[in-house]
Symmetry: C2
């Protein structure tokens, strides 16, 4: 058994943000597995069998990859952003743990990528310049009570917070609830960014206050950043988006 | 004034993890500013003036970059990992805010990179597969009381925690104190990883329990990951490091 699985992070969308190591992993692959829009980012070539899937059950895709690898194939499982951040890597290891003992002897590697939070931060300035948390608002796999407990802890401890999976047609109210909780704990003038489709042709980035954020539209492609108490705007010229950044220092009087 | 500053993330060290966009930004630069080991990663070439610095005051480097850009130079400020994560981007915007009004009209961009936490996670499996926090243990710029308050909040809310800047000769006890706090809140068998110099020739990655971690050596190049209650190991063959991963699901009984 000499097959392999590499979980490859494709970054936020700009081909300039796909690492050379990720590109090399894609070039070595005999089989490509992933959600349709991610597979579509990888050019066709002879010798590469593509298995695009619209199955939302990530563990099914992971089992498919491991089954092919056990047959000796070299499988690339593609993921947007970084595969380790609310993406395919955890699903793959869930499938390994619950699957055939032989799967543990496969060559399994993960190629990191630029995750949405850091791509959005780079566009905005340096909003994650202090301590920060990343929270998925999806309650498909964890109880909503856990989500709110984590958010509340992060808000009270003054972390910058990145919200992944903020909203979907099946989860229409969670983002509003999360922003409402934030408003109970943080000032209404806290900077908030909604970063949609970062680095893709339809990129849309909006900077607003926490007070305004509840009325702002968002969708599945949106990454939300809620500033900490120190997060600041630097105004620029007319029509230019301000820089958003969090200073590295926390003044002693905030203790 | 047509100069520019780009803060460029060089990733953890492997040239295969430098994005093409970062490489292109380095090729466009007339001037290269950064801490000596990061400047050393960029090859010399005609037309590129290198300004390596061993000054630990990041804001000084940022002001130098902005001053050169105001003279019309195209400056790349290089940073390890991702510039937005405990690195040069926040220092640059601090310098912009406190500096010459004209600096706000410069073209200032940030090129994201693979941050240490995600490079380490990729090597380990998928330890950051759930909600996670990143905390700098340095108390040079924030009171230690803030560091412990944030750690305690993150530990109680069951986040996976990545510790940046865990230790240095001037800060020898903070990591031990942080791990001691973790032991008060999490089980002694919680998986912990010490990932040193990830993707560099001297890479050393160790997986241990939280109970063992206080005795483990660490240095400035070490990134520490403390697992959540769900973080698990998948044993492999003799002599092989286990996979470390955090399942995406949180069981309802943990609420």
């Amino acid at each position: 058994m000499s097959g392999s699985v590499t979980v490859v992070g494709l970054g936020p969308g700009d081909p300039g943000l796909v690492t050379p190591a990720a590109s090399a992993a894609l070039e070595r692959a005999t089989d490509l597995i992933g959600y349709i829009p991610y597979v579509a980012r990888v050019p066709e070539r002879p010798g590469l069998t593509r298995h695009p899937s619209d199955n939302r059950v990530e563990v099914d895709r992971a089992r498919h990859a491991l089954t092919l690898a056990a047959e000796g194939r070299h499988v690339a499982v593609v993921s947007g952003g970084d595969p380790g951040v609310f993406a395919m890597a955890a699903a793959l290891f869930e499938a390994v743990e619950d699957g055939e003992p032989a799967w543990r002897r496969l060559a399994i590697t993960v190629e990191p990528g630029i995750t949405a939070m850091l791509a959005a931060a780079a566009r905005l300035g340096a909003p994650m310049g202090g301590d920060f948390c990343a929270v998925s608002l999806s309650d498909n796999l964890k109880p909503w009570k856990i989500v709110t407990a984590r958010l509340e802890a992060a808000l009270r401890a003054d972390f910058v917070i990145a919200l992944y999976n903020p909203i979907s047609s099946a989860r229409p109210w969670q983002l509003g609830a999360a922003l409402g909780l934030a408003l109970e704990i943080r000032s209404a003038d806290t900077p908030v960014a909604f970063a949609r489709a970062v680095t893709r042709p339809d990129e849309a980035i909006r900077v607003m206050t926490l007070g305004e954020a509840r009325e702002a539209p968002a969708d599945m492609a949106t990454l939300v950043i809620i500033g900490a108490s120190g997060t600041r705007l630097i105004p620029r010229g007319p029509g230019e988006r301000p820089f958003v950044y969090t200073p590295r220092s926390v003044p002693t009087e905030r203790v």
